[in-house]
C-alpha cells in the first residue's frame, strides 16, 4: 500500500497577492484561496479597476466567500505620478458586474499594503511568490522605500502589459501598465525575479466561451455561480468593445501560472521596459524579442499557455 505523504512545513509555498480587485481579480483570488498547500500571507489592494476602498471590499467579500482567514490590507489610492483612471466601464460600477453583491462595510486588516509587502518579504526571504494583478503602484512604492527587497521574493508573477501584440486600453498598452507606467518602470528595472503574463496570454489561452461559462455555472456551487455571474459587465465589454464572445481572464491565468508553473508552456527571458509618454506610447510594454537593444534580459515573458490545464484548474477551484 502506498504511503500518503503529508505536506511538510518546509514545502509550504508562501504567496502574497496584490490586486485591484474587480471581476477577474476576484476569480483569481478565489482560485488561489481554494488551492491546497499554499499559504497566502496577505492580500494587498491597490487602486486600479476601481478605487482602492471598493477593491478592498471586493477582496474582503471574496476571502469570506472562500471561507478563509487571509488578511486583506488596503494600499495606495492613486498611481505614483498620475491621477487614477479606473475602469468601471469594463467591470461595472462596483467592479463586480453590478449584480447586487453586498460589497461594503467590511473592515480590512490593519497595516498599510506597502508596509505589509516590505515586512512579508523580509520575514520570509527567498520564500514568497508575489502575484500582482493590478497596477504596480504598491510594489513600486515598496521598492522606492526599501530597494533591498528586490532580492527577497522567490518570484514575482505579474499580470502586466503585453508580451506581444496589441494593447487593450490603447492600441499599444494594457491597462495595468498604462494606468501607472512609472510604477511598472520601477518594478521592471528593480532586479526582482520577474515573470510577465501579458494580456495577450489571456486572449490566446484564457478565453471562456459562453458555453464554457454555462458549463462552469452548472457546477452549481456558490463559487461557480460567483465566478460566472460577476463577469456580467466584463462579458458586455468583451462583446461590444474587444469583439469577443464570452470573456477572457487575464488575472486568473496569471494566478494559475503562479500556482502551477507548467501551465506556461513557452516563455523566454527578454529585456522589458515601459514607454512613459508620447502621443501613443504611454504604458506600452517594450519587449525586446530579437535582442536588438543588447540589454540584459530582466523578465521571463510568458508567450504560450496550456488552455486545457488552465480550464481544469479553474473548474477544480469552484467545486465543493
Amino acid at each position: 500500500m502506498m504511503e500518503v505523504k503529508s505536506v511538510h512545513a518546509d514545502a509550504l509555498r508562501r504567496f502574497l497577492i496584490d490586486t485591484d480587485t474587480a471581476s477577474d481579480d476576484a476569480v483569481a483570488l478565489l482560485m488561489a484561496l481554494r488551492y491546497p498547500v499554499i499559504e497566502i500571507e496577505a492580500i494587498t489592494v491597490v487602486a486600479g479597476n476601481v478605487p482602492v476602498e471598493q477593491g478592498t471590499q471586493n477582496a474582503l467579500y471574496t476571502v469570506e466567500l472562500a471561507g478563509k482567514r487571509v488578511p486583506v490590507h488596503m494600499g495606495l489610492a492613486k498611481p505614483l505620478l498620475r491621477p487614477l483612471e479606473s475602469a468601471e466601464w469594463v467591470h461595472g460600477q462596483d467592479g463586480m458586474g453590478d449584480i447586487g453583491l453586498p460589497l461594503s462595510g467590511k473592515t480590512p486588516a490593519p497595516g498599510h499594503a506597502v508596509d505589509v509587502i516590505i515586512d512579508t518579504l523580509k520575514r520570509h526571504p527567498g520564500e514568497v511568490t508575489v502575484v500582482t494583478l493590478g497596477p504596480l503602484t504598491n510594489l513600486a512604492a515598496a521598492l522606492i522605500r526599501e530597494p533591498g527587497i528586490a532580492k527577497l521574493p522567490k518570484e514575482v508573477i505579474m499580470m502586466a502589459g503585453t508580451g506581444q501584440g496589441p494593447g487593450n486600453v490603447t492600441p499599444l498598452a494594457e491597462y495595468n501598465v498604462w494606468v501607472d507606467p512609472e510604477a511598472a518602470k520601477i518594478v521592471f528595472a528593480s532586479g526582482m525575479p520577474l515573470k510577465l503574463v501579458g494580456w495577450d496570454v489571456s486572449r490566446g489561452y484564457a478565453v471562456i466561451t459562453p458555453e464554457e461559462a454555462q458549463a462552469i455555472r452548472a457546477i452549481d456551487t456558490p463559487y461557480a455561480r460567483f465566478v460566472v455571474d460577476i463577469q456580467a459587465a466584463l462579458s458586455r465589454f468583451c462583446r461590444t468593445v474587444t469583439r469577443l464572445e464570452g470573456f477572457n481572464l487575464p488575472d486568473p491565468i496569471t494566478v494559475a501560472i503562479a500556482l502551477e508553473p507548467e501551465i506556461a508552456t513557452v516563455s523566454r527571458r527578454l529585456f522589458v521596459d515601459v514607454e512613459l509618454g508620447g502621443e501613443w506610447g504611454r504604458g506600452q510594454t517594450v519587449v525586446d524579442h530579437l535582442g536588438v537593444t543588447g540589454r540584459d534580459p530582466n523578465v521571463e515573458v510568458v508567450l504560450q499557455a496550456d488552455r486545457r490545464r488552465f480550464l481544469d484548474l479553474l473548474r477544480r477551484s469552484v467545486q465543493d
Binding site: 495606495l76 505614483l80 522606492i144 518602470k185 520601477i186 528595472a189
Partner: protein, 301 residues
C-alpha cells in the same frame, strides 16, 4: 518670537551651501531643527556629514535619518563631486538613526499637524516618496520651503539657466511635489543666484576660531577649488533665511509644474501667476540684507 519647527531634507556634502544652510539654522534662535533627513547618492555619508556639522555646532541631540539614495524612477544620473566625505574622519563615532528618513518625515508631520515646516534643499525624492505613501502630509505640513527650480520671471530672468540642479536631478519627484497641492515657497535660482559669497568670507570663517566655522571654511575652500571660481551662491541658506525674516524676498503666487522627459538632464519649472496657485515663487531678494544676516549669524558670536 515664533519658533519654527523644521525638518531639513538635504544632500549635504557636495555643494557647500547645504552645510551653510544647516549652520544658519543651528545659529538661529527662531528655528528648532526637529530632524535632518538625507537624500540623493550615498545617504550614509551624507548623514554622517550632517551629524558631524551638528556636533561641531553643539547640536548633538538633533537626529539624522538617512533617506532614499536613487532618484524616484532610478533613471537619472547622480552627481557625486568626490569630496563629500572630506569632513569625516575614519573611526569617528557619529550616531545615525536607524529609522528611514521618509518614515520620519511622515510620522513627524502627522503627529504635529500644521506645525512642521519642511525645508528641502536637495532633490525631492524623499518628499515625493513621503507624499506617495501618506498623501495626508500635504494637508498637515505647515509649509514646504523648497530650494529648487527657476522661473526666469524676475528682473534677472534673461541671465538665468533654464533648469536647476535639485529639480533636474529628479524631475519626476519634483513634478509630484509641485502638483501635490502642498503650500510651497519656491526659492529658485531667480533669487539664490543673487546671493554670492567669495573667498573673503572663507577667511573670516577660518579666523573666527569657532570649530563649525572652521569646518565651513574648509568645505567652502574645497568647493571653490572644485568649481574653479572665486565665488559661490548661497542657494540653500536663502531658503532657511525665510524662517528668520520673510521680508528678505518678494514673492508671487503661481502654479508651478515641471516639464521633463526621459532624457537626462531635463526638468524645467514652468511657473504661471495664479491667484489660487499653491506656490509662492520668490522673484527677488534683498541680497545685502541677506548677506549681512547670514554672516552676522555665523560670525558675531
Amino acid at each position: 518670537m515664533t519658533m519654527n519647527k523644521i525638518i531639513i531634507d538635504t544632500d549635504v556634502g557636495s555643494d557647500v551651501d547645504d552645510a551653510m544652510a544647516l549652520s544658519l539654522a543651528m545659529r538661529s534662535p527662531e528655528i528648532q531643527i526637529v530632524g535632518i533627513t538625507t537624500v540623493y547618492g550615498d545617504v550614509t555619508i551624507r548623514s554622517r556629514v550632517a551629524k558631524k556639522l551638528l556636533h561641531l555646532g553643539g547640536c548633538t541631540s538633533v537626529p539624522v535619518y538617512p533617506g532614499i539614495r536613487d532618484p524616484l524612477l532610478r533613471n537619472r544620473e547622480i552627481f557625486w563631486a568626490g569630496h563629500e566625505s572630506m569632513l569625516l574622519q575614519d573611526e569617528e563615532e557619529l550616531n545615525i538613526e536607524d529609522k528611514h528618513g521618509v518614515d520620519f518625515i511622515i510620522e513627524t508631520i502627522m503627529n504635529h499637524p500644521g506645525e512642521i515646516t519642511l525645508v528641502t534643499i536637495g532633490p525631492l525624492t524623499n518628499i515625493a516618496a513621503a507624499i506617495i505613501r501618506e498623501p495626508k502630509i500635504v494637508q498637515n505640513v505647515k509649509e514646504i520651503i523648497l530650494m529648487g527650480g527657476v522661473c526666469r520671471l524676475g528682473s534677472n530672468g534673461a541671465d538665468l539657466p533654464v533648469t536647476e540642479h535639485n529639480v533636474r536631478s529628479d524631475p519626476e519627484s519634483a513634478s509630484l511635489v509641485f502638483r501635490s497641492g502642498a503650500p510651497i515657497v519656491m526659492v529658485g535660482l531667480d533669487v539664490t543666484l543673487k546671493v554670492k559669497i567669495s573667498a573673503e568670507v572663507q577667511k573670516k570663517l577660518k579666523t573666527s576660531g569657532d570649530p563649525l566655522n572652521m569646518a565651513l571654511a574648509d568645505a567652502l575652500g574645497r568647493w571653490l577649488d572644485f568649481r574653479q571660481r572665486d565665488w559661490t551662491a548661497m542657494h540653500d541658506p536663502v531658503a532657511v533665511s525665510l524662517l528668520i525674516d520673510r521680508s528678505l524676498v518678494t514673492t508671487r503666487k503661481m502654479n508651478v509644474w515641471v516639464e521633463y522627459d526621459h532624457r537626462h538632464p531635463t526638468g524645467q519649472t514652468v511657473a504661471v501667476p495664479a491667484d489660487d496657485g499653491n506656490v509662492e515663487v520668490c522673484l527677488d531678494v534683498d541680497s545685502p540684507r541677506f548677506l549681512s544676516l547670514f554672516t552676522q549669524r555665523l560670525l558675531d558670536r
